[in-house]
């Protein structure tokens, strides 16, 4: 059985694919995106902090980022409606079907680069809190 972490990533991917973002969706893609693959959203696990609760429960704070890649005169403006649709799709159910206890948006970063039409990556991030027993990262506590 997949870890809760992996199930969360799959749930986010599923919600983004079902949403009307107008963008292709990738997971953990490291290869550079060609202009024909844009706009796109790449789902990336960023980091996770764990805290022990009592003697047998771990509280996980898992941060997932969405790299929204666009190309144009104002790439951050092109990313804006995609981010709104993605945000609403993810936050519609803040337990992701019971996988977690909470999702919260934790900030957005922007990067631009000179290119054949300006290249942009806008990166909103979400902190996802969930509990698991020490005995298994695949079970909810």
């Amino acid at each position: 059985m997949a870890s809760i972490r992996e199930q969360i990533l799959q749930a986010i991917e599923s919600r983004l694919r079902a949403a009307s973002t107008g963008a292709a969706v990738f997971r953990s893609r490291a290869a550079a995106l060609s202009s024909g693959e844009l706009p796109s959203i790449t789902i990336l696990p960023q980091d996770e902090d764990d805290t022990t609760l009592g003697q047998s429960i771990t509280r996980h704070e898992f941060v997932v980022q969405l790299d929204v890649n666009t190309r144009g005169d104002i790439p951050d403006q092109l990313a804006d409606p995609i981010i709104v649709a993605a945000h609403e799709a993810i936050m519609r159910d803040t337990t992701l079907g019971g996988l977690c206890s909470r999702i919260e948006p934790v900030g957005t970063k922007w990067a631009l680069d000179d290119a054949d039409n300006t290249a942009g990556t806008t990166t909103p991030a979400f902190r996802i809190t969930y509990l698991s027993p020490w005995s298994s990262p695949a079970r909810r506590a």
Partner: protein, 96 residues
């Protein structure tokens, strides 16, 4: 030097027409067009880096926002940089 450049572009160049953004008179000269793909945004995206090299005197005053039409394709000028002694320049372009 000018004769060498003229021969170089005559042998290897393609015709390009410069249209200033401000509406001045267009000019036509030979350029060397390159279009290699290159990583941008720390490897997140690929960009085709259209670049036209030309004798600087051919397109004196060319700048960001002007257009170059090469082989029937129009490109917007992003930046212009002089090379070495300044006799040659390269215009970095975006396909319009």
């Amino acid at each position: 030097m000018d004769e060498d450049l003229a021969g170089f572009f005559a042998d290897f160049g393609v015709s390009a027409t410069w249209a200033p953004a401000g509406g001045g008179s267009p000019a036509t000269a030979s350029v060397m067009l390159d279009m290699p793909d290159q990583d941008v945004l720390a490897g997140k995206q690929l960009s085709t880096e259209y670049a036209a090299m030309f004798a600087s005197a051919s397109f004196a005053g060319i700048k960001h926002g002007d257009t170059l039409t090469i082989n029937g394709t129009t490109y917007a000028v992003r930046t212009v940089v002089k090379l070495d002694d300044g006799a040659l320049s390269t215009a970095h372009l975006s396909k319009v």
